[in-house]
Subunit: 337 residues, 2 copies
DNA sequence: GTCTGATGTGTAACCGGTTACATATGGACG
DNA sequence: CGTCCATATGTAACCGGTTACACATCAGAC
């Protein structure tokens, strides 16, 4: 703020025009080596730093991207945000954080604001992105990528992991350690991730004699959701010996619920989660989980978005990352009966 | 981007000058009621939305604040960030997220970038803010507030909670439930919070016959830190029956360490943390903690900062919030021996 | 010797707002 | 009736960059 030097000051001191200074700044156009030296020297003398706002206005690029997510205090998102921010920072971009609480209204009003601020692109990790918003986004020519959500009937650029395969891995693992009756607590079916995981479960177990649709009980993807669902589940099926929860937070709720009931994990019931958030290591017992490369997904989202911004590429694309099973105490192999 | 209407378009359609439109927009200066109606109508017809970047350049206010913190994936910060973002959003501001990893270099380069982008103010929740940076910040006339960190010899605006009193509450609680020998795992002494908590511990226990300086062992404020420190502690003092950890993350590490050693909590050793992060409810056993109003601290930080921005107030100030003890299973009263 | 294209630089418009200043009107007041 | 001030509006400069376009120089090609 204080008498910051402008490009005109630099031009005057270097004895050239602003256009030349701008050329030096952006390394485009022709500039004589000696002239460049003069300009650089003038910049240093004045401690010149180009004004990003003016740049944004003139050039329509602000070096800012936005991240819209439901709630940063949901433990899944901080690591994602970190991955995004790191990659953005590395590529010279800055990140605006927006919590939508999965309310379409909030999300919409954010998009509005972000557009006014000339953000260069948006990463959606939010659930609510509906048909119309997507269409509108595509029309507006504002680059965006979608994390972990697929939008029906619309081709967008999506980064996600293989939820279906991951779910199969989880269930297979429970089978491998000797579980005889495995239940699944699934997340909100609006979410493609929750649907895919449910599908992975069902495909894997439907051939077994013990299979029953009532082994699949709904949960909210939150800690409470797991806690409540496990109550429900045990009422219907007191004899389950393996639970695959749709995400880690619910799995932690399951652990808590089982603890309260005095049911031993993994001895009586083995539990497996999905996501690979760091809480799984803190939990007691430590939670087996199908880990997504959360940080990397974030980083990739930012990289893909920024590449789009820089190249103007508007094509859709799917970037699918691999999951991996991390076995921990909540599914340690029991001695077969 | 697509042919967005500008203020001049509105002016033309309404048959007035841009100045008048601007006045209507900002509700300042004199505008005739009827003229205003015409302008409003023109705005609606054109779906006019003022360009925030141009506004920022002309008016030097961008409606953006920045949050610099060490690492959003440290569980203390997401809730803080949420509080900040909510308040900012409510007051019409947008938040840029910056992870400094407590590296002075990163922090400095962020400040640089943020200044170029004309952010209206900065919230520091970072540890590294040193003397020089603070002095420089104050000179630069860029409003800022500091969360939970006090800077030596410098008067700034600080939001924090009463760490000293909180620590006393924690230790007193352990005494109340019958602990006979209480240890403290303290955090990095560069942090005022860690120092204050240590002081609270020491003041409370130093009169007791069992008091010994070696009951205070250092930790890193991270999960691992608690895990390692409790090892160390038990080597020196196998007979402790109460541990006050400098923060929740270390307390969770302590729980894990005790579990591995087969020591029962709270029966053999009671454990109390500090912060009140939500993980304390997920832990097993659930962790007693001295809870800071984390969300509220964030919200207050944003509110105070934005008030400064709007009023131009540059005075320092201290905003101290109250902590409260949340008793949970990790310190359930044992039957006295 | 002229034409051409690469190189180098400056002028001024433009991005889309804000605002200082000028100008005009009309009622109140002495 | 002249003065003063509140009201109302427009003109144009300004914020600090980018860039289209014009112009100049110079080397190599024909």
């Amino acid at each position: 703020m204080k008498g910051m030097a402008t490009i005109r000051d630099v031009a005057k001191l270097a004895g050239v025009s602003v256009a030349t200074v701008s050329r030096v700044l952006n390394k485009n156009g022709y500039v004589n080596k000696e002239t460049e030296q003069k300009v650089v020297k003038a910049m240093q003398q004045l401690q010149y730093e180009p004004n990003a706002v003016a740049r944004g206005l003139a050039g329509k690029q602000t070096g800012t991207i936005a991240l819209i997510l439901p709630d940063i205090s949901n433990p899944f998102f901080p690591e994602l945000a970190r991955g995004i921010e790191d990659a953005a920072q590395r590529l010279g971009f800055t990140v605006i954080l927006c919590n939508s609480d999965d309310q379409g209204q909030k999300e919409k009003s954010y998009i509005e604001v972000l557009r006014k601020k000339y953000v260069d692109g948006i990463i959606f990790a939010s659930n609510t992105l509906g048909q119309e918003e997507v269409v509108q986004m595509k029309q507006s020519s504002l680059p965006f990528v979608i994390l972990d959500r697929a939008v029906a009937n619309q081709v967008c650029t999506v980064i996600r992991c293989n939820n279906y395969e991951g779910a199969k891995m989880a269930v297979q693992h429970l089978l491998d350690i000797g579980c005889q009756k495995i239940a699944h607590i699934y997340g909100p079916q609006e979410l493609i991730t929750a649907r895919e995981r449910l599908r992975g479960y069902e495909e894997t177990v439907k051939g077994f004699p013990w299979y029953s649709p009532s082994l699949m009980v709904p949960g909210s993807f939150r800690f409470d959701g797991g806690l409540q669902a496990v109550e429900e589940l045990l009422r219907l099926h007191p004899d389950v010996d393996g639970i695959f929860a749709g995400n880690d937070l619910m799995a932690l709720g399951v652990l808590k619920g089982l603890k309260r009931k005095g049911i031993a994990v993994p001895d009586q019931i083995a539990v497996c989660g999905f996501d690979g958030i760091s809480l799984t290591e803190i939990a007691e017992p430590e939670l087996t989980t199908v880990a997504q490369p959360i940080y990397e997904m974030g980083a990739m989202a930012a990289e893909v978005l920024i590449k789009k911004i820089k190249t103007g590429d508007t094509n859709p694309g799917l970037f699918e990352l691999e999951v991996r099973l991390i076995q921990r105490d909540s599914t340690r192999k029991r001695v077969r009966g």
